[in-house]
């Protein structure tokens, strides 16, 4: 079982590496959206610092949504997803590996970009560390929960907008806790509680989402 799982992981990573330009697009989108905000609300550094964490988080959610559609689409179109389903490897495990590979290739680059964006929006050092920690704990949650909706909309041709419609309301608690953590950090207050809640949500979704994603894929494959 673990041999086939590593094979899937290596295959997904190799595929992502060979489609580098496609991986770049959500990152470009992430930077562009964030650089629109200073233009839209004015370059005042205090205001930027106040809205910064929220802006970065909203942009991260939106750009992760952009890349998420690719998660199962190619495998679904060329039929390899069906083969994986028929194989003896448990589908929830496969799905978990695929989500991990996707997170590694399309979300981690966003995290690596975050220091630059923190500079753009004039975040203090404490705020930046809190932001990075919430992103580290929160983005796997985005991928796991998002993959459920990706699985459900897989067989639809135009799933993109629908995906956003289904997922954005579900991501609201994460957004609230993450920005609350950064705000606490900006006031030099402890923010372990918010991090703990995000961690708890991540663990719950880690335990339940793979099964929901597997079921969603079976529904799409009919």
């Amino acid at each position: 079982m673990s041999a086939s799982l590593t094979a899937i992981l290596r295959r997904d990573l190799a595929l992502a590496y060979r489609q580098r330009s496609e991986l770049m697009q959500p990152m470009m989108f992430f930077i562009l959206v964030i650089s629109l905000f200073p233009l839209g609300i004015g370059p005042n550094p205090e205001i930027l610092q106040k809205v910064g964490p929220g802006v970065i988080w909203v942009a991260a959610i939106l750009s992760s949504l952009l890349g998420m559609e690719r998660l199962f689409k190619d495998d679904y179109n060329d039929g390899s997803l069906e083969q994986v389903m028929l194989s003896s490897t448990p589908l929830p495990m496969v799905v978990l590996v695929k989500v991990f590979a996707h997170w590694l290739t399309s979300i981690v680059p966003l995290l690596l970009l975050s220091p630059l964006l923190a500079l753009f929006l004039n975040l203090t050092q404490e705020m930046y560390w809190a932001l990075l920690l919430t992103l580290l704990l929160g983005t796997p949650l985005l991928s796991l929960v998002g993959a459920i909706a990706v699985g459900l909309t897989l067989s639809l041709n135009r799933g993109g907008v629908l995906l956003a419609l289904l997922l954005l309301p579900v991501f609201i608690p994460l957004l609230i806790f993450a920005t609350a953590a950064v705000e606490a950090a900006s006031l030099q207050l402890p923010y372990n509680a918010q991090l703990a809640i995000i961690g708890a949500m991540l663990l719950i979704s880690l335990a339940m989402a793979p099964f929901a994603i597997a079921y969603a894929l079976r529904v799409s494959q009919n």
């Binding site: 909309t153 289904l166 954005l168 309301p169 608690p173 609230i176 929901a212 009919n222």
Partner: protein
Amino acid sequence: MWKWLHPYAKTQNAYQLCERLLPWFVTSALISFVIGIVWGLAFAPADYQQGDSFRIIYIHVPSAILSMGAYSAMAIAAFVGLVWQVRTAFMAMVALAPIGAVVTFIALFTGAAWGKPMWGTWWVWDARLTSELILLFLYLGVISLYASFEDKHQAGKAAGVMAIVGVVNLPIIHFSVEWWNTLHQGASITKFDKPSVAPDMLWPLLISILGLALVMAAIFIRRLQNEIVRRELNRPWVQELVSAAKEK
């Protein structure tokens, strides 16, 4: 109980049960809704602080409570459908979703209309308002996911998964926005303590809640029948039904 419930998994039996239940629900809904609303709007005493404008409570509170009730009913139907593979349960879920969405909208609308004279603003980003708004989005998500599939059986399963994801998320949303920002008053009738509403205001309120619940149930029964007929159009019993209706 299973022996008793099981026959209604068949659409024909469910349809006939609906047909038998509908008149009871319609009459009781009309009676209780009219009593509750007329009593509340015309005869209940005016509030000493808010005057007559508090009377919108007789629409606002029932719709707010039942918007969540309808969502849980929808999620339970989805769960039954997914676990026991009951097709009728998916039809029930689909029949419920638009009713719930409309009631959620009514709760938001009356809340805004009440907020304007009381808080001086149509909308604030308060916990309850926000979670009600998110509830509306969740309903719309389920409805639009269902609508975008050609194959309605697949659509039912997909929308069912989404409804359950929503229901897992609802308490998290509720508490997250609660800690985030609160202006709305706390619960006054659902707390375990003695209710903090005067009895001659409380009674019409309870009757309006019951009335709206029955109205929604009656609409639901009719919608479920429509859904069954639409989905089973090629079955002989539906064909008979249609030709019988044509002769009339």
